[in-house]
Subunit: 414 residues, 2 copies
């Protein structure tokens, strides 16, 4: 098979057409395809309707040589994606014994009985490559037919994303005769448009490697991608450009290369230094602890934390003094510092991280509008705090994510 | 003009095809159209490419009588949506004086000068209805041509959403004569295929109302939708069917109707009863607290919690006895119960919720593989615990989400 030259994405699901869920699969796959240098000409969504699926599949293959379909692989009679693609290629379906065995053991390992209708998920078009699904029941499929390739993946993002990473990308790599290496530069404290302004000449003039900025949740990330015959050459090309970017004004805002997230950067740094951390969260309500414990193996670094949502909890759990709260208010640098120190001492950690603020939409005042957040870090050398004044127009979710990110950044730089 | 019988959505933008942004416009518009009883047959995304747009517009109108386009209405030469639609209908563009005046006054009110290229945004096909944009510069457009209607809206969600609500819906209301009402049944403890098995006759035979199951993150949801002349009639049709579903075997697994999420169901129930809750989390690492505090205004119910990730933190923060941990182990019903009681007493809450387990991927043993989680709830009447044995093949993320959901469910039923 040759390199994939262009792709389209077809997401199947009535819940998408009804707007019950946002189509994150299309953006996820598009982003990953862009990183591989494969252009996406179209994304489409159709319901579980034979006639409309038939039409969409035929249209896509009239334009592109690869079609990625998501959803409609489940056990119900509504799930017809596989059937429609098999029909398009004129291939009969057969029971795939290996897929059936895997599904049976998956069910027995989760202590459930496999109902008869689940067998449907083990059917595959003759000659298809079955992509093992370790994150759910429906396997994925790759169907190659002449110049055309269909890749079928389960709809739930929690299955689709690891399937893409661990099954589809290795497959696409096999087919390709060049490799693309991407590296990500993580930035906090400089907005996307400012970053773009400083790096515009690179973005506009370079074609290999390329530079692209991405923004989201108050953070910014720059992706550097290089295409070459082998991985080492592509990787070196990226590194060279990253060194150049570090020398610009952007350099001082970089908190890591390929660190994945600020929580991961923090855990790695603390581990390197043999330090432990504890959290005391008010407005972020457990989000910092949740994000740190998203990382497998964080237990050598993270001892625990308190979610001191009610005022009283701050006093009872981590010994914030009632006088401090009375004098300076719950949302204040002083309270944030006492929280950070309190949780550090209560758990015997090297570093304490704290947040207290107003995430909204209610609770704002003229003096302290929604978006006012104090973050603090405590170490044996004392406390540091910082006021974040986020826009009151921002969502509760954004304010909480941003507060958590900045609190971890303060700890990273402490 | 007649009622809109069916619609398609075409979102224009290279940033969507690159996966740089998630397409929230498509889900927003679809949700609002569903509420109006207008079926959406397809959503599509194309780049700012004349040939591909031309093809997408023609395809859509071959299937549907209404096409909603978003994006590509800006001042740059890349913005060609309006031009392509005008071309499809064979209508020339003319300068709309009213739109031009509004745009001039918008610019002056934001203290900016209007550059010449902005005038392009005031051009409209002859006979089009201009939708005033009070949230940005590019006005929207409605173009009616025979049986076909095109609705053009600006791409940024911050402009699109109010434009839809305040400009497009009043227009569609003038044209429509029926509504669809949907209600969601939330289920925990019964898988999607088992649910489908029990309700197959409803799913296959009913056309109005309809029944459709959705699965994700270890939960299941059934959506019941009815179409009628007015909202009351459609709502009653849904209620009747929901009562019927409650009488089936599925009934005992229902935890709420239109409750949005288990955390929301829990907060609402506790609020109704005037009760407060506190959390002690080990393997879920703050996720329960995070999910509860995702809900604005949860502070009347949620006092706070502890993330007792290290063994020592369980003893220090919430007084779990070292003997219990030594005798039964950290991952045990006894430790879970002491954690739930400990945090309840420490914070003076009515209910304590606790989790302790092995989220993986490391840390499993032959006796306690990854996926072993104890959840517990404590009230003044004592403690209840439950063992969850999730598949060790599941991701860390899934195990944590599932543990958190089940712990909240145990509290909901306490």
């Amino acid at each position: 098979m040759k390199d994939v030259r262009s792709a389209e994405i077809l997401c199947v699901g009535t819940e998408l057409l009804l707007g019950d869920i946002v189509n994150t699969n299309a953006s996820y796959i598009s982003r990953r395809l862009a990183a591989l240098g494969i252009p996406v000409y179209r994304q489409a969504v159709v319901g579980d309707n034979p006639e409309r699926m038939r039409q969409a599949i035929a249209e896509s293959f009239s334009r592109s040589d690869c079609l990625i379909l998501t959803g409609g692989l489940g056990p119900t009679c509504d799930d017809i994606t596989k059937e429609m693609v098999a029909e398009y290629f004129g291939l009969p379906l057969e029971l795939n014994e290996e897929a059936l065995e895997r599904m049976k053991s998956y069910f027995s390992s989760t202590g459930r009985n496999m109902t008869k209708n689940n067998e449907k998920q083990a059917m595959a078009p003759v000659g298809a490559r079955v992509l093992q699904n370790d994150w759910g029941t429906a396997p994925g499929l790759v169907i190659e037919n002449g110049e055309k390739t269909a890749i079928l993946l389960p709809g739930p993002p929690i299955e689709l994303e690891p399937m893409w990473r661990d099954r589809v990308e290795p497959y696409l790599f096999e087919r390709s005769d060049s490799v693309i290496v991407s590296k990500n530069i993580y930035i906090l404290g400089m907005g996307e448009s400012a970053v773009e302004d400083r790096l515009r000449y690179m973005m506009e003039e370079l074609t290999n490697p390329t530079v692209a900025p991405y923004a989201g949740n108050g953070e910014c990330r720059i992706r550097v991608s290089a295409k070459a015959k082998d991985e080492k050459t592509a990787s070196d090309m990226c590194d060279e450009l990253i060194e150049e970017i570090k020398k610009t004004e952007v350099g001082q805002f970089i908190y890591g290369i390929d660190v994945d997230s600020i929580e991961n950067a923090l855990v790695m740094k603390l581990r390197d230094r043999g330090l432990t951390v504890a959290t005391a969260e008010s407005c972020t309500g457990g989000l910092i602890a949740k994000r740190i414990t998203d990382i497998a193996g964080c237990s050598d670094v993270f001892l625990g934390g308190c979610v001191t949502y009610a005022v009283d909890a701050k006093v009872k759990l981590i010994g914030v003094s009632s006088e401090t709260i009375e004098k300076y208010g719950v949302v204040s640098a002083e309270t944030a510092c006492e929280m950070a120190r309190g949780v550090r001492l209560a758990l015997g950690a090297d570093i304490g991280i704290a947040t207290t603020g107003i995430a909204g939409p209610g609770g704002g005042t003229p003096e302290q509008p929604v978006g006012t957040v104090y973050i603090a870090v405590s170490t044996k050398d004392g406390e540091t705090s910082k006021l974040l004044q986020l826009s009151p127009k921002r969502s509760r979710e954004f304010i909480r994510i941003c507060a958590a990110t900045n609190a971890m950044s303060l700890a990273l730089n402490s």
